[in-house]
Amino acid sequence: MGQITATLGKTIREFLRQKTILFWTIAWPILWVLIGSFSFAGNASDEVIPYIRGSIAISMSVFALMTAGIANLPGNIAQDRERGLLSKLMSMPINPWKDFVGRILALLAFSFLAAILVTLVGYACGARFSYTLTGLWQSIGFLLLISLSSAGIGMLIGTFIKHVHGAIMSGVGIAVVTAALSGVMAPYSSLPWLLQQFAKIYPISSGNSSITYLLVGEDYAGYNPLSTSQTTLMITSSVLLFIAGLIVYSRFCWRKD
């Protein structure tokens, strides 16, 4: 066993055994898939309803990824610091980078598990998708970028908010509010102009629109998020958020004084 495997195993177990984490990352998005699938279709025709449900399932999968990165990761970091585990680790002959990689791999595994469960529930509720194999792979790439940007935000929160509950609740708050404002939890077309601009800049909502565009269609995404400039912005901002989180985490969480 290496350090990465050990950290991965420990973090995944902790994610899977904490009720708060399971609720916000899996139960809450599934609840919204159930509510959304049967309440928000409005007067749409029978042909359109399965795709509306598809876009809701995608949005809630993205929300699951968001809460995993923005709330669960900082909660996990804050918890390890609060109970002295980071001090213990600093006294051991281990590499902080490997600890970090283990945590991120655990986050990705847990996030994708949550996203798959949410999508399956959506499918069971009648969600349908229209996609190509290339589109499916591209969507997985966007999911990965969403996870990276969420992890970046999560590491920033986990580094600066010292208390476990403070870190988790700040993360949940940021995830819920930004999801609502950026069109993850509401159709892009219903947002005012200013929030539509935010939705295009915020990598998570931009990624959500890209996946919806690829798996359901442009009508459900509200705009074309796959233009070169938009995709470049999404990729760059996701990577930058992740790097910023990584630098802050390694500098301040593992700092000696």
Partner: protein
């Protein structure tokens, strides 16, 4: 052979000097207790040794190496309960075995041995959240007993443990001592420090005395201590008792006071009468040998422990 060597170690946080040119040497296989009140700098010193913090100036060597180059030799147990409550005892230790790079099979074997050694082999598959405070501390000590670790640094390990858990925990430390593990115990509890082969008393960032526990008590000049439990605790009572105590020093305890007397037999009835005169009853009076906490009080006029 000195395996821990601290020379003129200073640690500052801004203008606050937490450690002031501390010098300390610990021999291989020695059980050394560093005893002092909260804020005396003992935890800072331990965390510098464990390379969790860095010193402002001075030199520190463990087996001739700087602490960050000797991490594989150090088993550090911080004050907090760092084990994960939602993992089982075995899962916690397997995590640490993985961090240290053991293969799965080897890790399984070593972890089982360690759990047996700390008396938790019956509870390996229970979540740590159902462990008692003492069991959890013993599990955490096991993380510092992996092969190759030669120095155990324990920061306030018995704080918060009930008397029975504390006894069991100290029994484990005694066992490790017999196996010649080098132990540095950070504590503010005199009775824990008395188990050590050598004790350093630290106050305001300086080691003010250092010797074997019995010799420390002998050289302090303290003869006997009267331990009095009283119906009331007040300044008036302290004033009365200070008339009978050496250099008028009276140590407050949870339930009463400790008075340092040269002639206990003569002083005791007088104390009872004097307390009666101010309306205070002595509910229990015992004569005891001085403790390390008394020695600390004599040297600093401060208590090691806050009175609750």
């Amino acid at each position: 052979m000195d395996i821990i060597s601290v020379e003129d170690l200073t640690k500052k946080y801004g203008d606050n000097e937490v450690l002031k040119k501390v010098n300390l040497k610990i021999e291989e296989g020695e059980f050394y207790a560093l005893m002092g009140p909260n804020g005396s700098g003992k935890t800072t010193l331990a965390s510098i040794m464990a390379s969790v913090r860095s010193p402002t100036s001075g030199k520190i060597e463990i087996y001739g190496r700087r602490p960050e180059k000797a991490k594989e030799l150090i088993g550090y147990i911080p004050q907090e309960n760092f084990s994960s409550p939602i993992l089982t005892g075995k899962e916690n230790l397997m995590y640490f075995a993985g961090l240290l790079g053991y293969s799965r099979n080897k890790a399984e074997r070593i972890v089982d041995e360690l759990l047996d050694k700390v008396g938790l082999s019956e509870d390996v598959n229970k979540k740590v959240s159902v462990y008692s405070g003492g069991m959890r501390k013993r599990l955490e000590v096991a993380t510092a007993l992996f092969p190759g670790i030669k120095v155990l640094i324990l920061d306030e390990p018995t704080t918060g443990l009930d008397p029975s858990a504390r006894r069991k925990f100290l029994g484990l430390i005694e066992e490790l001592r017999r196996e010649k593990t080098t132990i540095l115990l950070i504590t503010h509890i005199g009775a824990d420090a008395e188990l050590a082969s050598r004790v350093g008393l630290i106050d305001e960032g300086e080691i003010i005395a250092e010797d074997e526990p019995e010799r420390l008590k002998k050289t302090s000049g303290l003869k006997n201590v009267i331990n009095i439990e009283t119906t009331i605790k007040s300044e008036k009572v302290v004033n009365v008792l200070s008339n009978f105590s050496e250099k008028e020093k009276v140590l407050e305890t949870d339930v009463g006071y400790r008075v340092f007397c040269k002639d206990v037999e003569k002083a005791t009835p007088k104390i009872v009468r004097s307390l009666d005169a101010i309306g205070c009853k002595a509910t229990k009076i015992e004569t005891e040998k001085p403790s390390l906490e008394d020695v600390f009080f004599k040297l600093t006029e401060r208590m090691v422990r806050e009175v609750s």
